[in-house]
Symmetry: C2
Subunit: 343 residues, 2 copies
């Protein structure tokens, strides 16, 4: 019997997780929820997903009926049929859903990176904390930036002991579908305090990095991807080829070359479009080969993170871990990747 | 007798240097040059500057006459009257001017940061290399980013020995008047190799920092200012108040507080507009107070650089040093700042 997955919040993350679950042979989407009868809701129904109203309220259901979008009921009509819920609600709403819906109905739940580490049992990355999250009930898949950092630090950690990593995050201002958020023409220190919270967020997944990950972040006017520049002090010394090889061996990281035309995040997205990826998603972390360097026990590199999609395969593996469907994290990673057509 | 200054290239830098020279009581603008009869050329004449054609060619002069913009001749008609030329030509043209015009006519010249360190006698920053450039003939005022880094490293160096500085530069894509350059929606690693050339450029001013300044840079879609995030390892330990105090004592650095509304570079520029600064120029380096932190012998901070104007007061001091008009760099800095109304 495939695992029954409910997607609560069919937005940027939710719709992608729904499609990714549908691609797996060991799990199925039993329903998706929306708060508003917008085009995403209509598309969900057209795709064949059973649609439920995320807010259990008669007037809310009527909104959908008035818009001519058929619903099967509200989230409360389906919640207890689910083996697990993937929460795709906006920041802070995930925590409310956990307390108000998932815990009272005793259903396992995955929250996203916008929620806080302290509100869940553990924090998930398929490479680092799959075993720790095995069988747990309430787990957070960390944010896109943290996921990207976890992957690259896993690759580096496989060939060198990390002494101190200094990372600057250059964050996209808004997602492509966001027509409200800025800045349009400014660079915003966010947070203005240094170090930023991204280092501690990595530590929520990898406690052994406590005190070793120092991050700083700004927001810039772009929608496509985040970029990170890393300076990682290591014990001992290795060559840049060792770093490149370790990166290439790590699942869900791809490398690109500027000399092959990958001059910016825009070119990486064009690549995703040319590959015919659904929504041009780049689920892999992307590292520029030319940026990799090692100088005096310090590794340098630059990488890009597709904020909308990097966490999607992590959600799939997290489902398998929490429902104890596969003991070996690398087997789950391979299965997920193969089904989704990612590296 | 005030020093006679010719501005060769009345563009972004040249027009600002012309205005800054005009504000000083010990130097005067004897002429400015333009290659094209555009609105900047017309405004130069309306402001009372004597306009010369930058390209000594009859057809080029006719272009200006046809446009109804009166010129006094070409650069070759005025060059030998100058005590010094400030070159404001685009990147690489400065070097050509040096070889083809300034050296043959035996006139001292200041080149800008777009030129290379190896093509001049020395590299100027008023805090660090005024004395070294004293009386020299061909000197480069380093770029806006390098000038910003020189100022903050001077402040830090005044209270702590710098062991290693790691800096990420988030660069503006284009100046506000540039309607051709991108990216519009991308983050571009530039250069894609790490470390970038900005570290060595600081070393061209401060040789004692050899091997200690590691930089990485990206370009982002904004026009207003560059931003830097710094992580500076020091010998020994100090408090964040010591760092703030050192910054406040250093000329040409101002600090702002996010809590007072300075949430981004856009707000800093709005401040320049509200102050009634000509062209809203912020000649000072701007440091966010909240960003200043010290953790385990490492200083963290974030700063913004107004790319169009930060080097202008440096050009003025450089004139004084090269023409041996003032022996004490701090007296020149104070005089320049007072005349320009900057801190």
């Amino acid at each position: 019997m495939p695992a029954k997955v409910l997607i609560n919040g069919y937005g940027s993350i939710g719709k992608r997780v729904a499609d990714a679950v549908s691609m797996q042979d060991d799990m199925e989407v039993i329903g998706v929820t929306k708060t508003k009868p917008d085009f995403e809701a209509r598309l969900a129904v057209e795709k064949g997903y059973k649609l439920f109203v995320a807010i259990p309220d008669k007037e809310r259901v009527k909104l959908f009926e008035d818009a001519g979008i058929p619903v099967e009921g509200t989230v409360l009509d389906i919640i207890e049929e689910a083996d697990i819920v993937v929460d795709g609600a906006p920041k802070k709403i995930g925590k409310q859903n956990l307390e108000n819906i998932y815990k009272p109905h005793k259903v396992k739940a995955i929250l996203q990176g916008g929620e806080k580490a302290k509100d869940v049992e553990d924090n998930f990355n398929a490479l680092w904390s799959y075993n720790r999250c095995y069988g747990k009930d309430y787990v957070r898949v960390v944010s896109c930036n943290t996921t990207g950092l976890c992957r690259i630090l896993y690759a580096i950690n496989s060939v060198a002991e990390i002494k101190k990593a200094r990372i600057v995050l250059v964050r996209r201002a808004a997602d492509p579908n966001d027509d409200k958020t800025g800045p349009v023409n400014a660079i915003t220190p966010n947070p203005v305090t240094v170090p930023s919270h991204h280092g501690p967020d990595v530590v929520s997944v990898v406690p052994e990095f406590e005190g070793k990950i120092l991050t700083s972040a700004v927001i810039v006017p772009t929608t496509l991807m985040h970029m990170h520049t890393l300076m990682v002090e290591i014990e001992g010394n290795i060559g840049k080829d060792d770093v490149l090889e370790a990166i290439k061996k790590t699942p869900r990281i791809i490398t690109v070359k500027a000399e092959e035309g990958f001059s910016s995040t825009a070119k990486i997205i064009e690549y995703g479009r040319d590959l015919g990826r659904l929504r041009y998603d780049i689920n892999e972390l992307v590292v520029w080969e030319e940026s990799i360097n090692v100088l005096e026990n310090e590794i340098f590199l630059m990488q890009a993170v597709h904020q909308e999609s990097i966490v999607i395969p992590e959600n799939i593996d997290c489902i398998r871990a929490m429902l104890q469907m596969e003991e070996d994290n690398f087997k789950s990673i391979e299965k997920t990747n193969k089904a989704m057509g990612i590296q």
